[in-house]
Amino acid sequence: MDAENLERALATQPIAEPSPMREARLLKVLHGARGSGEPPVWWRRPIPLWQAVAACIAVAFADALWLRPAHPVIRATKNVPVVVQVDGRVFEKMPRLRAAADYSSWSVLTNR
């Protein structure tokens, strides 16, 4: 038997086959797979990396503009300091402390 006939014998020798049910299951999955001949819908289309990065930057920029804190409102009002005057009557109904509260050294609160 020469090489050509031997190759032909090997090419035509029957091979083991899976059960029809097993093969039908595989073909069912492949039948539902996305093929290159079918145009993908726009929301499933793969996009290049640079487009994805640009979209993320655009969304982040839009969020920053939308969510930025509002500028303080400036009104033409007189800047009058608020003075709180505490007199003795506030402390009349308080329980007596061991020592009387000394508030003579209290002063205006400052933001230091």
Binding site: L6, E7, I15, V29, H31, P46
Partner: protein
């Protein structure tokens, strides 16, 4: 996400149907039985589907994936050899009345005598029908060494199947004297 096709076979389905013999023959040889081979083919296709786009040479790509999966399974089962080529599981008896030239037992016996490299090259090239370039891509070896292994394999098979042949010429025996000496 899988998109439904409109009844026509998808590219993946077409790939399997066009190369069914190659996938089944190789997977069965690497696994040892056809049921495991069907699982292996399904797993290889699932991996390709997860990848998305079809590769450039899909047949060789799927076969290389099948081979790597078979090696992974053998490694997980702590098999002594990284890969086996079970031709007895792959080749089956021809049906009555078919015109197959050589009996299955002879072919299996001859193929089992081959070293692993030659046996795999003959399986991929002759049984599965791949080209030398595709076989080299599947085995991840140079095309030259694949061609050499295949040629040596075919030569060894010829020698085993035709023991009376020496270097392709019939050995002189009884009744085959040169006409000048008759």
């Amino acid at each position: 996400m899988l998109a439904r096709s409109n009844g026509k076979p998808t590219d993946w389905e077409r790939l399997y149907l066009d190369n069914r013999r190659a996938f089944l023959a190789c997977a069965t040889a690497w696994c040892g039985n056809v049921d495991d081979a069907a699982d292996l083919i399904q797993e290889a296709f699932f991996r390709q589907l997860r990848g998305g786009e079809m590769p450039e040479n899909p047949r060789a790509y799927v076969l290389r994936s099948l081979r790597n999966l078979a090696i992974e399974r053998r490694r997980a089962a702590h098999a002594p050899e990284p890969l086996a080529i079970d031709v007895a599981a792959t080749l089956v008896e021809a049906k009555f009345g078919s015109d197959v030239a050589v009996e299955r037992e002879l072919l299996v016996h001859a193929l089992e005598q081959l070293p692993m490299q030659q046996r795999e090259a003959v399986l991929l090239r002759a049984v599965a029908g791949l080209t030398i370039a595709e076989t080299a891509a599947v085995l991840e070896k140079p095309a030259g060494s694949v061609a050499s292994a295949y040629a040596r394999g075919i030569e060894t098979l010829q020698r085993i199947l035709n023991p009376e042949l020496i270097d392709g010429r019939r050995k002189p025996g009884k009744g085959t004297r040169h006409p000048a000496h008759r």
